[in-house]
């Protein structure tokens, strides 16, 4: 069930995305097949009548038709398709529909630039000022705290100074034993 839904969704997506290419390719194949059929009929007709005077010309015409149809197909898919999707050729309504920003003169604007311009300047400046104020205040507080801590550390002697430099530390049991010996 889910697989089928996925398949249908995928096919629909592909068809919608490449509708023009798919339809034009089908049309090209049909036209090529039709030309071939017509030519085959002409060849069989000329063989039945035993008149082969236009046979060579028919082959030339067939290949010319093939080339013309293929050329039209290529032109349609490569040139006309690109032209139709050029942003400049879209109407203002279409541009707005696709979420594009237009300036006062109705020209297409850079999306990011437009978004930046839409933010009010005062609001942005206020935000920046507030951020810098809070940063400064916190930096001052932290530096004062650090200075205080340093000063207090300098004034007070380290009770662990002796322990820091000792080679090995004694446990409570060691101290008890030492005291007993004394």
């Amino acid at each position: 069930m889910m697989n089928q839904i996925f398949r249908i969704t995928f096919v629909t997506f592909i068809y919608k995305r490449y509708k023009q290419t798919i339809l034009s390719s089908a049309l090209l194949l049909f036209v090529l097949w039709l030309i071939e059929k017509v030519h085959q009929d002409f060849v069989s007709y000329s063989q039945l009548n035993e008149d082969t005077s236009y046979l060579a010309l028919s082959f030339g015409l067939k290949w010319l038709a093939f080339i013309c149809v293929t050329g039209l197909y290529t032109a349609w898919n490569l040139v006309f398709k690109k032209e139709s999707f050029k942003k400049d050729k879209l109407s203002k309504e279409e541009l707005k529909k696709y979420g594009k920003m237009l300036n006062e003169e109705g020209e297409l604007q850079d999306d990011l630039l437009a978004k930046m311009q839409s933010i009010p300047l005062n609001k942005a400046e206020d935000k920046k000022k507030a951020e810098s104020k809070t940063k400064k205040a916190s930096a001052q507080q932290s530096s004062e705290q650090a200075h205080k801590d340093e000063a207090s550390d300098k004034h007070q002697p380290d009770p662990f100074a002796q322990i820091r430099n000792k080679e090995s530390l004694n446990s409570k049991a060691d101290f008890v034993l030492k005291n007993k010996r004394k």
């Binding site: 007070q156 009770p159 662990f160 002796q162 322990i163 820091r164 000792k166 530390l169 004694n170 446990s171 409570k172 101290f175």
Partner: protein, 84 residues
């Protein structure tokens, strides 16, 4: 061996990896001991040097046993014992 040579040996001792390792463990033990004392609602100055030494020694032992157990776990993890 002259006195100057002895001084050089002493100054080089600080760069010995074993000494460095011991110093790091000692510092960590001291900081843990400080925390323990503060949690108990007292200050290190209230204690005698003997008491402080005992506390720091206990913390040092704890750190060493932690390192051993963690090292064992790391080796077991490397060997692929996932149930740990």
């Amino acid at each position: 061996m002259t006195i100057r040579d002895l001084n050089t040996v002493k100054s080089l001792k600080a760069y010995n990896p074993h000494t460095k390792y011991k110093k790091i463990i000692r510092d960590k033990a001291i900081s843990r001991a400080k925390t323990r004392i503060i949690i108990a609602g007292r200050t290190p100055e209230e204690f005698s040097q003997e008491d402080l030494e005992v506390v720091v020694q206990e913390e040092e032992n704890k750190i060493k046993s932690d390192i051993k157990s963690k090292g064992l776990l790391a080796v077991l993890a490397l060997l692929g014992v996932s149930w740990l």
